[in-house]
C-alpha cells in the first residue's frame, strides 16, 4: 500500500468515536517501507459495526426471551458481558453442558444461592439483580 492511499476513516461505532490511531506499514514514492499512523479504514469499521449490531440485536432478543420465560436471566447477562457458553463455563468453573442447563428457566429457578452468587460475581452484579431480571 502506498503512503498516499493510507485511509484515515474514523471509527464511529453506534454514534461514538472509537478511533484508535494505529501504525501501518506503507511504501513511499521510491517503494521504501515506512510506518505511518491511520485512524482506520471503512472496510474494517464496517466489519466492527456489523459485529456490534449483531451483539446488540442478540441481547435485545434474549431480553424478550427471558421476559417470556423461554430462557433464564443467565442467558441475557452472558451476552451482555460478551460471553458465549464456553467462556462463561470457564469463568464459573463448570462444564459447558451444566451452564447450558442453567439457561433453562426451570433449572435456573432451582439453583442454590452459592451457584447464583458465582454467576452474579462473574457478571459483576448482585444475586437480586440476576434473579429479578427483567424488573420492568
Amino acid at each position: 500500500m502506498k503512503k498516499e492511499e493510507l485511509p484515515q476513516d474514523k471509527k464511529i461505532i453506534k454514534g461514538e468515536d472509537n478511533t484508535l490511531r494505529k501504525v501501518l506499514y506503507v511504501t513511499d514514492d521510491s517503494g521504501n517501507y515506512e510506518s505511518a499512523q491511520s485512524d482506520g479504514w471503512e472496510a474494517e469499521n464496517y466489519a466492527l459495526t456489523q459485529a456490534w449490531e449483531d451483539i446488540d440485536e442478540h441481547i435485545a432478543e434474549t431480553r424478550d426471551k427471558v421476559k417470556n420465560g423461554e430462557v433464564s436471566p443467565i442467558a441475557y447477562f452472558m451476552l451482555k458481558n460478551l460471553m458465549d457458553i464456553p467462556i462463561l463455563a470457564s469463568y464459573v468453573g463448570k462444564w459447558k453442558w451444566v451452564v447450558k442447563r442453567h439457561l433453562k428457566p426451570s433449572v435456573f429457578k432451582k439453583l442454590d444461592k452459592e451457584t447464583l452468587e458465582q454467576y452474579a460475581s462473574v457478571f459483576n452484579i448482585t444475586v437480586d439483580e440476576l434473579t429479578k431480571f427483567p424488573t420492568a
Binding site: 468515536d17 501501518l24 458465549d84
Partner: protein
C-alpha cells in the same frame, strides 16, 4: 516507582511491539519488521470448527508467545517466562520484577483494559503489554498499540492476566534477563525466513499456511448455500477484522513482512529479497482488495451466490500467489546456506 530509562514507542502489532520495546531497554535496537521476521510471526490459519461467539476462527499470525521466544533465542537473549496459579502470586511477582528495575511483558485480555475504546473490548486474551512502573494502585503500561503510556488499576490488570476462555493467559509474565552486547543478525534473519517458509508451505492439514487460504476461499463460496445472509456476513466480517482491525500493520501482517524482507535485502545487498519484498507488497494489496470487496458484500447483505463466489476466488488466487512466493523465498534462503 517508575523505571525511568524505559521508552514507550507505538508499533503495529502487540507481541512484536512488546519485544522491540523490551529489547531496546537492554540495548538491542531493532525495528518492528526485523523482530517480526526473525520471530517468524507471519502465518495463516482457518479453523472452521473452533468458534468464538459462533464465528469460525481465522488467524494471520503464529501462536501467542512464539515471536518473543524465538527472537530471544535467536539473538542469544536470556529470558524468563512464568505462569502463575493465582492472581495474588502473579501480581506479587510482577511487583518484585518491577522493583528489580525490569520492565515486564505480560499476556492479557483486552476486555479489562479501560484505556482502549469500548468497541475494541472483546474477550480477546492474546494481547501483550509491558508494565514499567507503579504509582499508588495503578500500573504504568506500555501497550504497543497505544500512542502514549497508559495506566491500569491493579484490580483490572489482575483480571486481564487471569481472563478465562481461549487462550488463557494464566498470568503469563516474560522479560529478558540478560542480553548480549552485540548481535549478528545474519543467521537469525535467514533462519526466520526458513521457518516462515516451513509454516506456510508444509503443514499437512488443509487449515494452515497457503493451503489454509485456499481452504477458506472454498468455504466462503459455500456460505450462501449453508448459512443465512446474516451469518454469512458475520463470518466474512470476522476475517476482515482479524486481517485489519488492530495490530497487523495492514493486510494481515503482509506489509509488515514485506517491510522485513526489504530491510533484510538492503542489509545483505540481496536483490532477490528486495524483489520478493515488492511481490509481497502486491500480495498485501490483494488482501486489502479482498477486505474491501468483502465489506461491500457484507453491506449488501444480499447473500448472492455471485459475490461470495468472487470473494472465494480472490482468496484462491491469493493462495496460489503466496505458494509461488514462498517457494521462491525458500530457494533464495537455500542459496544462502
Amino acid at each position: 516507582m517508575i523505571i525511568d530509562n524505559f521508552e514507550h514507542h507505538q508499533y503495529a502489532h502487540c507481541e512484536s511491539g512488546v519485544t522491540v520495546n523490551l529489547l531496546r531497554y537492554y540495548g538491542v535496537e531493532l525495528s518492528e519488521p526485523m523482530i517480526f521476521g526473525i520471530g517468524a510471526g507471519m502465518f495463516f490459519g482457518h479453523l472452521p470448527f473452533v468458534k468464538v461467539n459462533g464465528v469460525p476462527g481465522t488467524t494471520f499470525r503464529i501462536w501467542p508467545g512464539y515471536i518473543f521466544k524465538r527472537v530471544s533465542n535467536q539473538l542469544g537473549v536470556k529470558i524468563k517466562v512464568e505462569n502463575f496459579k493465582t492472581p495474588e502470586k502473579a501480581m506479587q511477582a510482577l511487583d518484585e520484577v518491577l522493583a528489580s528495575k525490569r520492565p515486564a511483558g505480560m499476556m492479557a485480555s483486552v476486555y479489562y483494559l479501560n484505556y482502549l475504546p469500548p468497541a475494541f473490548r472483546f474477550h480477546f486474551n492474546a494481547h501483550n503489554l509491558i508494565a514499567f512502573g507503579k504509582e499508588g494502585d495503578e500500573y504504568l503500561i506500555s501497550d504497543p498499540v497505544m500512542e502514549s503510556v497508559a495506566k491500569v488499576s491493579s484490580e483490572d490488570l489482575a483480571k486481564a492476566r487471569f481472563a478465562k476462555g481461549f487462550p488463557e493467559p494464566n498470568g503469563r509474565m516474560y522479560y529478558p534477563v540478560q542480553a548480549p552486547k552485540t548481535v549478528d543478525l545474519t543467521k537469525p534473519i535467514w533462519s526466520g525466513i526458513n521457518q516462515t517458509c516451513f509454516f506456510m508451505l508444509t503443514p499437512p492439514v488443509p487449515f494452515f499456511g497457503v493451503k489454509g487460504i485456499k481452504f477458506l476461499g472454498k468455504k466462503i463460496k459455500q456460505y450462501p448455500a449453508k448459512l443465512d445472509p446474516r451469518r454469512s456476513a458475520l463470518y466474512v466480517g470476522n476475517i476482515i477484522r482479524m486481517q485489519e482491525e488492530i495490530g497487523t500493520g495492514g493486510a494481515g501482517f503482509r506489509f509488515l513482512y514485506a517491510a522485513f524482507l526489504q530491510e533484510a535485502g538492503k542489509k545483505f545487498g540481496n536483490d532477490e529479497l528486495l524483489r520478493l519484498s515488492q511481490e509481497m507488497t502486491t500480495i498485501g494489496d490483494q488482501w486489502r482488495n479482498f477486505a474491501y470487496s468483502a465489506a461491500r458484500t457484507c453491506k449488501a447483505r444480499s447473500g448472492e451466490l455471485h459475490s461470495y463466489d468472487e470473494l472465494g476466488d480472490m482468496l484462491i488466487d491469493i493462495s496460489g500467489k503466496e505458494k509461488d512466493f514462498f517457494e521462491k523465498l525458500k530457494k533464495v534462503a537455500k542459496s544462502w546456506n
